[in-house]
Symmetry: C2
Subunit: 559 residues, 2 copies
């Protein structure tokens, strides 16, 4: 029997970086290490610098390098794997998370003269201060009927690449001028590892208006945004983009020395965290919707052809798996809504019961909620506590609940919140189905499926579909990154020729699955009709009360 | 100076009876006593008898007599008032609270052969088991275009007199047959005190379809309900009804002996508790809306003429103060909604803060809520946790709240609930105003105004009207009863000729009042418009989701 080979996956999350060492023949995780970023999410004040305004969220790129330095060798040691046994490296990153750099890749925030300028730092995906810029982009994009408006479900987000670049130009023209390249950290980290700047098609397709075979919007568009932006692509970006799983280059001598890996070890092009999870959930063909379930849900689906599906975060050719159109949809708050309820809505009798039964209060709540039948609470909610990402793409929508009586109890409210998020997912599924993109089964990964069995059963009952679970629920992205590392190595290098081949061997599904119960599905279908009526009434302009209340709230809070 | 004279007010509430001894010249309360009814609200099982079904609520008339025996002498002792110094007695009662009795006034439930039959007992106002009968009454009433349908805002309630009589006939024909008279306890207690059966116009006007100058609906109507009911008025009720404040008779020798009062002391005709509070709030003319604010709110208004105002509980000539049309409207849950929230919605951090500050948790919540500006929560609610009494008259409506975000806190929800009930009151005021019945100021009594200053200020701000407070906030009904006792005595007897005269001397307003703040009123008027749109959308048939959810809930709970 040939000696085992290994691949490394490096998953750059919001709070920490995770490295896994994975056996190439079967995907078995041999070792792992997690490093929380020392500077974390910088949303109040720059390290040693000025305070930040509301809605800012930055990161320090030095923290990403620390993950390579510290976590990579640690994971290897835990796995008892030697550097020469590693055949490939893959990475994934949050996005859009752009960094302004010099020609040689040095982030501007590393330079003393820019250290105290917040615009010189990494703008994390959840930096929301570029909303005015996003509004301008959308306005001009719609006027000019730019294709990207359609690709992004009718709206370009303040979280995305050009909103953030434009904010730099608006607020810190000196930083804009000093920047040689704006790039996704997904690509920056690959450049660091290989010494070669090779940007990936996923990031640029989902966040930067790039379309395969067509490239970026025309110069006219950028000039309309700001004359100084006319040549932004040529001057500050790149024109070549490389497919997922392609070999970006080999590991540099520096990082080989730092990590104990072999110089020249193949490194895959960069990738986004949600997208890389799809093949790690065994999905490399159309028909299965992957749900990455945590504080929010990302819904990832492959399609054989391009369709305009309402409310997509993006529809990108080769954007998830080469050869297919990658559809990305999402719900902006799911676990976050339950966390909100746990903090702000749990009454004393739940805590008392939990103490009596010696279980966590969340378990007491879940037990009571699980004892209810669908429809028994009499409650119905709209799950818009953090706006609606898909299919309405509207951050100004807010939560709604109705049906409360003097007999309504906390567990009924909790269950109604879970059900509302499940209806939100069903709404997304129906948007796909209405365009003939079929969703046969669901595959879940992320933190929620492990924590909350009631939730998973409700999702199965509401959607009427079986939900299977990825084996590596919580480390799906890291596994996906490692799988891309194995593809970068190629068959000749001991890896795989395609991500489909890699998925067949390395990705696995749990035996446990949640099957829909016909009786519950029938009741939930009745409730879902009610949800849809309210969804459209509050979400499609019949009554914009939520937006007016939000505007009044801001006005009153500012007084 | 002439020696002071006193009047006695006896207030029969839901849980207890209260007796006050009041100085006639200025309404000063000299003494009081409260007796909780030993059998309380009988809603689970008859004393020594069978279990009751859901929605039943009975009382034992023996408990009412106990109030006379025990509380009346106690109040006199506390007041240091002698029996001969008392010039008149007035009473008030919950309603509709009918009792089946024999010819001599003996309640059927006092007879051994009927003791274990629930239908032989008093059906308390909140007995809700006669809904099928109420439905039949409404159906036939609407078909026949009976006037009472209009008087009662389009709907005759399951709580009211004929619904309960019809339930006896339907379910216990033997009790119906053995009953010589069905009567409101408001009249029964006066019969006990005086030995004379003299029924009052208020009870029969608000609860039993009686119209001044016209009487009851025709025999045809009752025959249509049930052939056995054709002659119900002649056989089981009475045809003569006496105005409020009239002298029903003098105290019997028996009760004079039991209580220490003089034989023949004038006793006023019976009265309802909410209605009798109006003159005790100083209101005996049109223009001031009296709000009796507690678990629910009763809104009482006098009008110079009859108008069909949407959603009234009743519009009765001479029904509150002789000479005027008495309008009664109401909100079925107000204090009850806050009590619900206190039990089911208050999170741990409020309790922690309360412990730290050594204040009750409700105070901690109120302090935080009071720090918010109108509109600042971004929340808006419909106050239908117990249905909507006025102006929609629909028990199947339920609560709604919208505007929730991940940053929404408990005190914001609490404030939104208070605001919602204030919008409910404004909706009632606007219903009056739309018919030219003006509401200049508000006068409040009941338990809520004392407990909750924030609530009172919000009501002033929302309605844009000054709210004055009755001096005797919590004992307004008992004072009103005593005032009617003084009117029954008449001028010659040391009392007053009219209730208006009595009110001028005996009823008082506090110095404290709540004045609307223009800036807040403007914001609340903006929010009220939003409330109205949702009120009509969910309440007037555009989307009957609340009713459908309630039906589904009952269906699922029954499985």
């Amino acid at each position: 029997m040939a000696k085992d080979k290994f691949a490394i996956g490096i998953d750059y999350g919001t709070e920490s970086g995770r490295v896994v060492v994975v056996r190439v023949r079967d995907g078995q995780q041999m070792g792992a290490a997690v490093i929380p970023y020392p500077d974390g999410v910088i949303d109040e004040k720059l390290p040693g610098g000025p305070r930040l305004e509301h809605d800012w969220a930055l990161q320090n790129p030095a923290d990403y390098l620390l993950v390579l330095e510290k976590a990579l060798p640690k994971a290897l040691r835990e796995a008892k794997v030697k550097g020469e046994e590693v055949i490939g490296i893959g990475t994934d990153f949050t996005g859009s998370t752009p960094v302004p750099v010099k020609k040689d890749g040095t982030p501007l925030c590393f330079l003393p003269e820019f250290r105290k300028n917040p615009h010189a730092w990494v703008k994390l995906w959840k930096h929301h201060a570029a909303q005015p810029e996003a509004n301008r982009i959308n306005e001009i994009g719609r006027e000019r009927k730019e294709e990207f408006i359609q690709i992004y479900g009718g709206k370009y987000s303040s979280e995305w690449f050009f909103s953030k670049v434009l904010q730099v130009l608006d607020e810190a023209p000196e930083v804009y001028k000093a920047t040689d390249k704006f790039m996704e950290c997904a690509d920056w980290i690959v450049w660091q590892l290989t010494g070669v700047e090779k940007r990936n098609t996923c990031s640029v397709g989902y966040k930067a208006m790039w379309v395969k075979g067509k490239g970026f919007p025309a110069k006219d568009f950028f000039r309309a945004l700001d004359p100084r932006l006319e040549k932004v692509v040529e001057e500050k970006l790149a024109t070549d983009y490389y497919p997922l799983g392609a070999r970006a280059g080999g590991l540099t001598p520096y990082w080989a020395k730092q990590t104990g890996l072999k110089e020249g070890t193949p490194v895959s092009t960069g990738h986004f965290d949600a997208h890389v999870a799809v093949p790690a959930c065994t999905v490399t063909e159309p028909g299965s919707l992957v749900m990455i379930m945590g504080t929010s849900i990302c819904h990832m689906l492959l399609g054989a052809e391009r369709q305009t599906v309402e409310g997509m975060c993006g529809t990108v050719e080769d954007g998830i798996v080469p050869g297919y159109w990658g559809y990305e949809a999402g719900q902006s708050a799911v676990g976050d809504i339950f966390a909100w309820f746990f903090e702000h809505g749990v009454p004393d009798y739940i805590y008392q019961e939990a103490r009596k039964l010696k279980i966590p209060f969340a378990a007491a709540l879940e037990n009571r909620a699980a004892a209810l039948k669908p429809g028994q609470s009499g409650l119905l909610a709209l799950d818009w506590w953090n706006g609606n990402r898909s299919i309405l793409v509207d951050v100004d929508l807010t939560g709604m609940m109705l049906g409360m009586t003097l007999a309504t109890r906390a567990e009924e409210i909790y269950r109604a919140l879970i059900e509302a998020t499940a209806f939100g997912t069903r709404q997304i599924i129906e948007a796909f189905e209405s365009k003939g993109i079929h969703v046969q089964t669901l595959v879940a990964c992320g933190g929620l499926p492990e924590k909350n069995r009631l939730l998973m059963q409700i999702y199965a009952d509401v959607t009427g579909r079986e939900i299977r679970l990825a084996k590596e629920l919580q480390t799906c992205s890291a596994l996906g990154a490692a799988m891309h590392g194995a593809v970068a190595a190629g068959r000749a290098g001991g890896g795989y020729a395609t991500i489909g081949e890699a998925a067949k061997q390395m990705a696995h599904i749990q035996k446990l699955s949640y099957k829909p119960r016909a009786e519950n599905h029938a009741i939930y279908s009745q409730l879902f009709k009610e949800y849809q009526v309210l969804h459209d009434y509050f979400g499609r302009g019949a009554n914009d009360v939520m937006k007016r209340l939000k505007a009044l709230k801001l006005q009153q809070a500012a007084k």
